[in-house]
């Protein structure tokens, strides 16, 4: 989209050094690029070494590949230049194929600054300029790897806060006279004791799962059988002598311990030094990371709301996280939520405070919500219990006639009270409100979420009624939006309430269609 093939007009004939608009990356990248290239060329190096040692002059071949990689890295620095123009940000790169990537400045949505450990050692930072949509790939965005840390910070400020001359004039109140003072106001800062919330996320289990998958795949590829591994055999032998419950208990305890360590480690690595600030130029900044530091920026004019979400585990310890609902920012998966994270798992009160601060008003975050009524409750119980009952009937029939073990039926029987509790919780958490021009919706049990969506961000309504909802006089009202998850639903409210809510949230839109 924003990529332009290098055209003759953009390929200035003179060398970049002679062109005042074009800059090079930081000179210290002359150290980083060769290291990166050598790492990338590692398989080739290995191949050269092996092939060479057979023919007797392995060192020479290895050195040749090494020199080529280093030369490539050095050439990268000499061939990459960038220019911050009045209308466009451009990067030229490529040794053989010259490419010019241009991003119009008014399309510019995000500027992310990342420093890997090697960067940090040398005082460098990588700048990624995105157009907002799905800008995680090299193709669409524009990446400067890397500039000096100060230069990167300056560039970010310049790109985001002086988006165009018109905007600079429209905001004359900016304190140009005191640029030295930090103009940002701090909204949140990570406190070390919040690490206690890390074990109550599932990130540790996910990490372990990924590790196990990785290791087993490697073992498969190497055709190693772990059962033939001596110490493991001995362990298995010992375990088989113990009673089953001891083994199970030990396994669960070990898993919990591992998951705790992994999640705490992940939390510290990702969120250490987390800081959320607001810049008067109209952006929110997030800074975080222990080894690799990341700074992401979110334009407030793209913000359509906030979300406070609590998983069931986090609810046990009264914790929650806070996310931004913004256009052009997909809600990602994983602990970082694709850049929309405004606060990592933290005390719930803190998550609410941050949400209110970002939104600029507290009522949507803290205010009371309207219950959805008896019809919604009945549907919660019917669904949960019907599911559990069908499962119980199936397992029971299997036990009676197919000889399934009895404990399976017992587990299915225990599913009934669990389903009951789930339904009760799901109903208790359902709620909505319209306050301060904000549509507030809360739902969910395993993950309870409270979304506050600015009514300006609502771009349509879907009013859905299934056959059973029509019989019960209920409807599900979905607000569609360009931000976040694209749609937010008020589930199972009385049909009249749904229409009234839609009418009040966007006055005038429904008027010609009302009876």
């Amino acid at each position: 989209m924003t990529d332009l093939a290098s055209s003759p007009a953009q390929q200035a004939p003179e060398p970049p050094g002679a062109d005042p608009g074009w800059h090079r990356l930081h000179p210290r990248m002359l150290l980083v690029h060769p290291v990166q290239e050598v790492l990338r060329a590692f398989p080739a190096l290995l191949g050269a070494f092996v092939a060479g040692s057979r023919s007797g002059n392995g060192d020479r071949w290895t050195l040749l590949v090494l020199a080529a990689a280093v030369a490539l890295g050095v050439a990268k620095w000499f061939t990459t230049t960038y220019r911050i123009g009045g209308e466009q940000v451009q990067v030229r790169r490529g040794l053989v194929t010259r490419r010019v990537t241009s991003v119009p400045r008014d399309r510019l949505r995000t500027v992310d600054v990342t420093s890997h450990p090697l960067h940090r050692l040398l005082g460098l930072a990588r700048v990624e300029v995105g157009t907002g949509l799905s800008d995680r790939t090299d193709e669409r965005g524009l990446r400067l790897d890397a500039l000096g840390a100060q230069e990167a910070a300056r560039l970010r400020g310049e790109l985001l806060h002086r988006a165009g001359p018109a905007q600079a004039e429209a905001a004359p109140t900016r304190p140009e006279t005191v640029p030295e003072a930090d103009p940002e106001t701090e909204l949140a800062r990570l406190r070390p004791e919040w690490v206690r919330f890390a074990p109550f996320t599932l990130s540790g289990l996910v990490t372990i799962g990924v590790l196990v998958g990785f290791v087993s795949q490697r073992l498969n590829e190497a055709q190693l059988d772990p059962a033939r591994f001596g110490p493991l055999q001995a362990l298995a032998g010992q375990l088989s002598e113990r009673p089953l419950w001891v083994v199970l208990f030990g396994a669960v305890a070990g898993l919990v311990a591992l998951a705790t360590v992994a999640s705490v480690g992940g939390y510290v690595l990702a969120f250490w030094g987390f800081r959320l600030t607001r810049h008067p130029g109209g952006t929110l900044h997030v800074r975080r990371g222990l080894l690799t530091t990341r700074e992401t920026t979110l334009e407030e004019r793209r913000l359509r709301g906030v979300e406070v979400s609590e998983t069931l585990l986090l609810r046990l310890v009264r914790g929650g996280r806070c996310l931004a609902i913004a256009t052009g920012l997909r809600v990602g998966r994983g602990a970082e939520r694709g850049g929309s994270l405004l606060l990592p798992p933290a005390p719930l009160a803190e998550a609410r405070r941050v949400a209110a601060a970002v939104l600029g008003r507290a009522a949507p975050v803290d205010g009371p919500l309207l219950r959805h009524g008896r019809g919604a409750a009945r549907r919660r119980y019917t669904r949960a219990l019907a599911g559990a009952a069908v499962l119980l009937a199936a397992v029971g029939a299997g036990w009676r006639w197919l000889g399934l073990p009895g404990w399976l039926a017992a587990v299915a029987l225990a599913g009934l009270p669990v389903a009951w509790a789930l339904a009760a919780d799901r109903y208790r958490n359902l709620g909505h409100a319209l306050v301060d021009r904000t549509l507030v919706i809360r739902w969910g049990s395993l993950v309870r979420r409270r979304c506050a969506l600015d009514t300006d961000g609502i771009i349509g309504w879907n009013l859905r009624q299934s056959f059973f909802q029509r019989r019960a006089g209920l409807a599900t009202l979905t607000a569609t939006t360009a931000a976040g998850e694209q749609h937010y639903a008020v589930t199972d409210v009385p049909a009249a309430t749904a229409v009234r809510l839609a009418d009040e949230a966007l006055p005038g839109l429904l008027t010609p269609f009302l009876r």
Partner: protein
């Protein structure tokens, strides 16, 4: 988006619990226009094709396993009965439900049969207006109109309009949306 300013006359709207307020009107009327009458036949034929595939599969199985005539026959009978009821009920029910309306300010659709859905989008938030004529619809002289907004959820689809109406609607909507100014998010 002027979120920072306090909201003028709209400030505080909705602060009372909605249940207390006496509403002027709390019921949406259906959209004004029905879709083309040919839609009934179009939906019938489309559903029939699906049922024929299923019945054909059953016949094939019967041919490959000629033994259990009773078993195969009864399942085929079930398919024919359920399919027949579906073919009789669904298109007429759908025709009764499917409606649409476009004003200078909003597009309003109603669709579905067993589950029904009404969608409303302000014209100012419309991003694209497409009309489409799949082969089967061409046979019946029909066309679909799809109105998308910046949300990935919630395109408004008006199925089975007669082709002239569809063209007129597209022209009308294109004219009124081209007056918009921002990026409609």
């Amino acid at each position: 988006m002027q979120r920072a300013e306090p909201g003028g006359e709209e400030q505080g709207r909705g602060e009372q619990p909605a249940a207390d307020e006496k509403p002027a009107a709390t019921d949406l009327r259906p959209p004004r226009h029905r879709v083309s009458r040919m839609a009934i036949w179009y939906w019938t034929v489309r559903a029939l094709l699906g049922w024929l595939v299923l019945a054909g599969g059953q016949l094939l199985w019967w041919a490959l396993d000629p033994g259990n005539a009773g078993w195969h026959g009864s399942w085929l009978l079930v398919t024919v009965l359920v399919g027949g009821v579906h073919l009789l009920v669904m298109p007429r029910w759908r025709y009764a439900v499917h409606r649409w309306e476009a004003t200078p300010h909003a597009v309003y659709t109603q669709s579905g049969w067993f589950s029904q859905e009404r969608r409303i989008a302000p014209v100012s938030r419309i991003q694209t207006v497409d009309s489409e004529r799949p082969p089967l619809e061409q046979l019946f002289g029909l066309a679909d109109v799809t109105v998308t907004t910046a949300s990935a959820r919630g395109p408004l689809r008006i199925h089975a309009l007669d082709a002239d109406t569809a063209q007129r609607l597209v022209d009308e909507l294109t004219a009124s949306t081209s007056a918009g100014r921002d990026d409609a998010t």
